[in-house]
């Protein structure tokens, strides 16, 4: 491993100070960062480990909102009863990350800050309309995920700024949500394409609100306004879901890479959108919250 200096601050103020002073890179779970350092794609002189900030590892409800500490691991989130109940799409996405070893180390904050177009956690957070609460030398601020995610591996995080928490409103009842992902295999797979959906029904059972987000289908994970528009006010079911799947194509900009061709991704997109919507409807109809 190329050499760097590791710093291990014990509180947030020290973490911020070290990041500022050393112009270092923040280290959370290390499941993505350390392989990049080893391959020489990243040559930080200083790594600042956030791992001792236990106060950033929590899952809790605050009134109408769910708040997740940035150092919550994928394993924490996939096994949390609160996340399973109120954000099942996120729970499913976290359960689909890598393997147990990766999920025990990899964190929510790292998944967001890496800004991989294929990050499993991002489509669910987009449909939940999550806000990232940041902290840096200039103090705290909150940004939406679309404001944070600028491109592959690029975020609007400022120097020495970190993600502290993620917050989203608990979806209203009756609603349902789901995450669907296609990888090259079941275990240890990075997404070829992924889709998260959230449906809120009105009292007549029609779609009041639809949110749909795409992963590995554009330079960043992103919502599909075209698909959401196609669903709004519609009778939920196969016809509407097919229209939404076709409409989602307008918001996808897939590329050819080592995992799949753009054409294959476009084909898969339709299937994943339909499945995510069917599953969301199923959950909404069962009256399960959400």
């Amino acid at each position: 491993m190329p050499s760097f200096q590791l710093h291990s601050p014990s509180d947030l103020a020290e973490l911020t100070r070290l990041l500022l002073e050393t112009e270092g890179t923040v280290l959370a779970g290390g499941t993505d960062l350390l392989p990049r350092v080893r391959r020489g794609r990243l040559c930080p002189a200083h790594l600042v480990d956030a791992g001792r900030l236990r106060e950033l590892r929590f899952v809790r409800r605050e009134g109408p909102e769910v708040v997740l500490g940035a150092l919550s691991t994928h394993a924490d989130l996939s096994s949390s009863p609160l996340v399973r109940e109120l954000a099942p799409a996120l729970s499913e996405a976290c359960a689909s990350v890598g393997c147990p070893q990766t999920r025990n180390r990899g964190t929510l904050g790292g998944n967001i800050a890496n800004a991989s177009p294929a990050a499993d956690g991002l489509p669910p957070l987009l449909v939940l309309e999550a806000t990232a609460e940041l902290r840096g030398p200039g103090g705290a601020r909150a940004v939406t995920l679309p404001e944070l995610l600028l491109g592959p591996g690029r975020t609007s995080l400022r120097p020495a700024e970190i993600i502290e928490r993620v917050r989203f409103p608990a979806p209203p009842a009756p609603s349902g949500q789901a995450f669907q992902k296609l990888g090259r295999r079941n275990g240890m797979a990075i997404a070829v394409a992924s889709v998260a959906a959230l449906l809120v029904l009105d009292e007549r059972g029609r779609i009041r609100t639809a949110r749909l987000a795409l992963g590995s289908l554009a330079p960043t994970a992103r919502r599909s306004p075209a698909a959401e528009e196609a669903l709004r006010g519609a009778e939920p079911g196969e016809a509407a879901f097919r229209r939404a799947a076709a409409a989602a194509q307008a918001d996808a900009e897939p590329i050819d890479d080592l995992r799949a061709s753009a054409a294959h991704r476009r084909r898969v997109l339709e299937v994943l959108v339909r499945r995510a919507l069917e599953r969301s409807l199923d959950r909404a109809a069962r009256g399960r919250r959400p």
């Binding site: 491993m1 050499s3 760097f4 200096q5 590791l6 291990s8 280290l27 290390g30 499941t31 350390l34 392989p35 080893r38 790594l47 480990d49 791992g51 001792r52 394993a75 890598g98 393997c99 147990p100 070893q101 990766t102 025990n104 180390r105 079941n186 275990g187 240890m188």
Partner: protein, 158 residues
């Protein structure tokens, strides 16, 4: 700099660069060579799996400075030297789930973490628990069989 942590129930203090990987320190400084480097430190193969506070992690992606004050268990901690094999190890031998042996320590520890959380796992749970442990010769069917055997054996003991 000194890093202190527990390995297999014993407190150790190591004077070293905290930016070295846990895998390297276990193998080079503590002569615990059960954890292997199979993929060049990419976290892809699981051959370096150890338990950190009871949970399986890839030791190649943990820096030793990150385990300060924590509890590490390696395959060497499962059975006393020269003593009897742990029931999970015995089940791997009996089920023929060991060929070249390179992935075995990691797979056994992944199984241990599963069985301590879920004493009677389904096949799906077993496969999921082993999903991060690549094997290129024995194959997974016998490993799944071994974990089932170990679950039965440990259930009898309990």
């Amino acid at each position: 700099m000194t890093v202190s942590f527990a390995v297999n129930g014993r407190e150790v203090q190591i004077a070293c660069d905290p930016g070295r990987t846990l895998l390297e320190v276990l193998r080079e400084d503590l002569s615990l060579t059960g954890a292997k480097d199979g993929c060049g430190g990419e976290g892809e193969c699981g051959a370096c799996t150890v338990l950190l506070d009871g949970e399986p992690v890839n030791a190649c992606l943990v820096l030793v400075g990150q385990v300060e004050g924590r509890r590490v268990e390696t395959i060497e901690g499962l059975a006393p030297p020269g003593g009897e094999l742990h029931p999970i190890q015995r089940a791997f031998v009996e089920a023929g789930a060991v060929q070249c042996g390179y992935c075995t320590p990691g797979a056994v520890l992944a199984a241990r973490a599963l069985l301590s959380r879920e004493p009677d796992p389904s096949e799906e749970q077993i496969r999921e628990a082993l999903a991060g442990n690549l094997c290129r010769c024995t194959g997974y069917a016998k490993m799944v069989d071994a974990v089932r055997r170990a679950a039965r054996e440990l259930g009898r003991e309990a």
